[in-house]
Point group: C2
Chain length 367, copies 2
């Protein structure tokens, strides 16, 4: 029996167990070097192999073309909210943002500190319970770029396909909560960023994939650390990078490959989400929060009949070994985050528990 | 017998073995939570205890007063090179920098992008082989702050005591390579920053200790993530912090406490450095690089009679289990980095090997 529970937290979240087992060994002595992985010089041969292999695995998984840089940076998506406009929103220009939740709103807020923002679409009218259809998007005349958030952890919504920006306008995506959970056509994007701590690794490292022409076009009057070109030029080794986080991402990329790559992840994640959504759709006790056609395969948000029952459900679930089910404070309810590393068995066990809870508490709901 | 070698690298460097053993366990299941430490929500109870205890241990070690914030940030010292002037160098103001090596120079370069810098002293005239005496420092009329680098990894020099800025002017220090290697009187400083990866933990987390009035006085027209007040207000939890790095720092702080605290570290580090410097001082084959009164207790830089012998020494040392001895490319020679976690036995073993090498190669040096 495992001594580990089902971790349904929204992130930092569950990591693949084979990755954790490998990391346990490498913490002490990695690759026969006599040094732990955290103790390696970032300029030495052992770490060089680690970062080169991590980048290669990252590229292989999504078939990233040669005219894109793969960068391992710090500061999370939150710093990218500023680095994107600092580098790519020229003075006097306008950037278009598609607003589908709190994280998009934070990205807008930081961009507004630096220039003009046009909200080309928003789902705020129905509390971000849906993804705006293409017909609802109104781009500005000549945006510097179009920014969107692929998956919205708080509301449990996810874009099925990329929005289509005007011809020649770079598409920029915050993919923090669904990166490499499914195939992604990098050529549709100018820049992609993803904090690692949901599907890719530990917190403290953010993956940035950026097209060469945008690196080159970036502003030059910025602090060195805030220019993409600095990190592109030095392969993420301008200064000491988050070496352990990069190592972990490399392990996770290899684990994804061993599980069938991005297609394998997509299949697995769709099956896991179906287990939960199918149950929610037939339940007259629990109900899904997001509009069905916008549902996230990563964060399944749902409600019980009353807030009292929700509190009781979360408390009993915790006793039964399901952690992290409490929804975001801004929405309430429950949220089951079922990132890449979360097992299908956990979804099935959760449904079983929800059925039991439903049976035991239906009377309370009706009364 | 251990399967680990003597890691004399300049950083990321050796970590305490009891800390690594603890981390190996906690990677899988921390504090009986059923989740690995990297998999914990940064908003959950288990991680909250980790960050609260890490801060408490950090405060206890140096007796940090209540009017200082302890922050765990990202981006390393390199991002602090910019955050310091962005926050604390007002438009039209001048900041004074004491230049004692490459890292000071990088700090100057970033500050110059943002405002006026006065170099109040420099050791560049003798290739940074010494720390400027107080008599050589010329402050500007009214500096916004005075910045210095406490220890210079590349040249093997270290300030014995803090420089004394003009009355009322905040002293700011990059202590990345000697933080908590000895007692530090935080009240002498306005702001202290230290990348963790030498004495405090893994790379990817930077410790910032900043006085409240400087947090409050900081510029407000900056990206949210680049304002100290953001992180001070939210106790380093404005966004997802580098949770694993913070956890590791907490373990290291507790290890330091168990080894006698900062006084214990200072005694131990002085003894270790003495083992090496005493040998260098009596050798007519090897010689120390830094001027004796400015020698670092963290990075012992030394030369052999010829570059050929240096290359041979580094190669043979590696075969004997001493890694990371190659000096920085800008200086050449050798560097033994003997941070907190490096054992005295390693210094003694290194001297023994140096004696052997000296005996075996003296003829080559004379010829």
């Amino acid at each position: 029996m495992s001594d580990r529970i089902f971790n349904l937290g929204a992130g930092p979240g569950v990591l693949p167990e084979p990755v954790l087992r490998q990391a346990q060994q490498d913490l002490w002595n990695v690759a026969g070097s006599g040094m732990g992985v955290m103790e390696l010089s970032h300029r030495g041969k052992v770490f060089d192999r680690i970062i080169v292999e991590a980048e290669a695995a990252c590229r292989e998984l999504a078939g990233i073309p040669d005219n894109y840089r793969v960068l391992f940076l710090q500061g999370g998506a939150s710093l990218q909210f500023s680095m994107v406009p600092m580098n790519l929103l020229p003075k006097g220009g306008t950037a278009d943002y598609l607003v589908t939740g709190v994280w998009s709103e934070k990205a807008v807020k930081e961009a507004k500190r630096l220039g003009t923002v046009h909200e080309a679409a928003s789902s705020a009218d129905r509390n971000h319970s849906y993804i705006p259809p293409a017909s609802a998007i109104r781009y500005s005349a000549s945006p510097a770029y179009v920014h969107f958030t692929t998956n919205n952890t708080i509301y449990g919504t996810q874009w099925r396909t990329e929005p289509a920006p005007p011809a020649g306008v770079p598409l920029i995506a915050d993919t923090s909560s669904d990166m490499y959970s499914r195939p992604i056509d990098v050529t549709r994007y100018g820049l992609i960023y993803a904090g690692a701590q949901k599907n890719l690794g530990p917190s403290g490292v953010v993956l940035v994939i950026v097209r060469d022409d945008l690196v080159e076009a970036g502003a030059t009057d910025l602090p060195t650390m805030l220019q993409y070109r600095t990190h592109a030029k030095d392969r993420s080794l301008y200064n000491t990078p988050p070496t352990f986080g990069i190592y972990m991402m490399g392990l996770v990329f290899r684990w994804i490959r061993s599980e069938g790559g991005l297609a394998g992840m997509a299949e697995r994640n769709a099956e896991k989400a179906t287990v939960l959504y199918d149950y929610l759709d037939q339940s007259d006790f629990f109900r899904g929060s997001a509009e069905p056609e916008s549902r996230s395969l990563m964060n399944v948000c749902f409600r019980a009949p009353t807030e009292e029952l929700e509190a009781k459900f979360i408390a009993e679930a915790s006793k039964r070994g399901f952690e992290g089910l409490k929804g975001h404070r801004s929405t309430g309810g429950m949220r089951a985050s079922i990132y890449n590393a979360f097992p299908r068995a956990g979804c099935e066990a959760l449904v079983q528990f929800m059925q039991e809870f439903e049976r035991a508490n239906r009377a309370a709901a009706v009364s």
